[in-house]
Symmetry: C2
Subunit: 228 residues, 2 copies
DNA sequence: AGGAGAATTTACCCTACGGTAAGAAAGCTA
DNA sequence: TAGCTTTCTTACCGTAGGGTAAATTCTCCT
């Protein structure tokens, strides 16, 4: 099921959140403005380009901050995809369930990463991926088409976005090469080194499905590491 | 060894080419202008954006057409990478040789594709990849930094390039998912379906190293297909 | 056309990883 | 804290794909 808008950050601010939330977020969060997460994102963008007040206003107008609880699904395989998400806190993953029911993780996303189903968005097809929330998280939701419009409205975003895409391409090239040339154990070691924060927030079977092995194999690899 | 500039298309036009070439290209090619390949590329670009005469002139000024023979190496793992290549004809591949000497193919490139070592270019490191020519080919060579400058000089290229990058990201996402969820035999079938032209121009061990299996395994898969 | 070198196939056995299943541990929820 | 659920581990054996090597076929070069 797609996320219920009543779970948005705004409602939390006016006191309509549920008890589990109180345990998780400190008072400093409670005092934040309703657009705290977007303000942080804008601050980050500003380190890379000069942002006109109009562009900033545009970002406010098309975004919506959401607080998600563990297990919530933002995009579901087979359904229509409209949104793309910037992660302000927490951890999410996108995965594809194959005909045998096996889940294959394409991507994890933590603070400052974007996540969506780019295959679906770019090709205008139904979702091939499911995007789910692995820990309590905060995201900023954008309608992908509206967000894309930022490039024609405010061309200063073009080089910024091009750079982001290039970086993403490089990381995908590296991932493919690693998959081709490293053993499962080596891929796991590299994963731990590259993404220690992700390892903290995921279950082992998530990592296994990212590395392309079964949960049991990963368990064996972990046991072997301890032995040494 | 990096390609010798004396192999450029220009020299061929003035009659300084070698006999193998005569066999491969028909008279229509012989009559083409020294910038025929770039003209074709520009024609393609023009279907997607309005190109000012200045931008067109810029492309002419930074490019160089080259005719390559089979086996020529454009980028060599461990060396400095400066160039990026647009393929006008033929077939090339980029691969990475690991510590065991096994070659792992990242990408094939045929007509209208670009090829280079984007990891090296984007991160300013030495080449992790080798780019080699699999059949007699024609490429247009660009200095990657100069080509990148086109975006600030002629911002009309931005949406075009963004679209190309997005499409590439989508194909990489698909590749990763296929690698995770399909058997070697299924990946081979998909490869044949997706890239019949590439199969024509490559050796089986090239394809095996792209699929992530050994040449022998691919041979077994092929034998199995014939049996059915 | 003929011969050298390269690529492919096949056969042999080996190994890394998969599948099932059962037990242990860890997390939630009440 | 108790009890339920989920995750992790371990053991068993099965299997896809790997490694070596030899035989065969293909390619290219002269």
């Amino acid at each position: 099921m797609l996320i219920d808008p009543s779970n948005s950050h705004c409602q939390f601010i006016i006191g309509d959140s549920e008890p589990f939330f109180i345990r998780l977020y400190s008072l400093t969060v409670l005092l934040k403005s309703p657009h705290q997460e977007l303000e942080d994102l804008i601050k980050k963008i500003k380190t890379r380009l000069i942002l006109s007040p109009e562009a900033e206003e545009f970002l406010y107008s098309i975004s919506k901050e959401k607080t998600l609880r563990k297990g919530e699904v933002l995009i579901r395989q087979g359904q229509v995809v409209k949104n793309t998400f910037f992660v302000s806190a927490g951890c999410l993953r996108s995965y594809c369930t194959d005909k045998n029911g096996k889940e294959n993780t394409l991507l994890f996303a933590i603070k400052d990463w974007w996540i969506s189903d780019y295959i679906a968005i770019h090709t205008d097809e139904l979702a091939t991926l499911t995007v789910e929330c692995l820990t309590e998280s905060k995201v900023i939701e954008f309608n992908a088409k509206e967000l894309d419009g930022i490039h024609s409205l405010f061309p200063e975003f073009e080089p910024y976005q091009r750079h982001n895409l290039e970086r993403h391409v490089v990381s995908l090239h590296r991932r493919i090469l690693n998959q081709l040339q490293l053993s499962a154990a080596d891929r796991y070691d590299l994963f731990l080194k590259q993404y220690p924060e992700i390892e903290q927030n995921t279950r082992n079977f998530h990592i296994a499905s990212y590395l392309g092995i079964t949960q049991q194999s990963l368990s064996r690899i972990r046991a072997e590491k301890v032995r040494k």
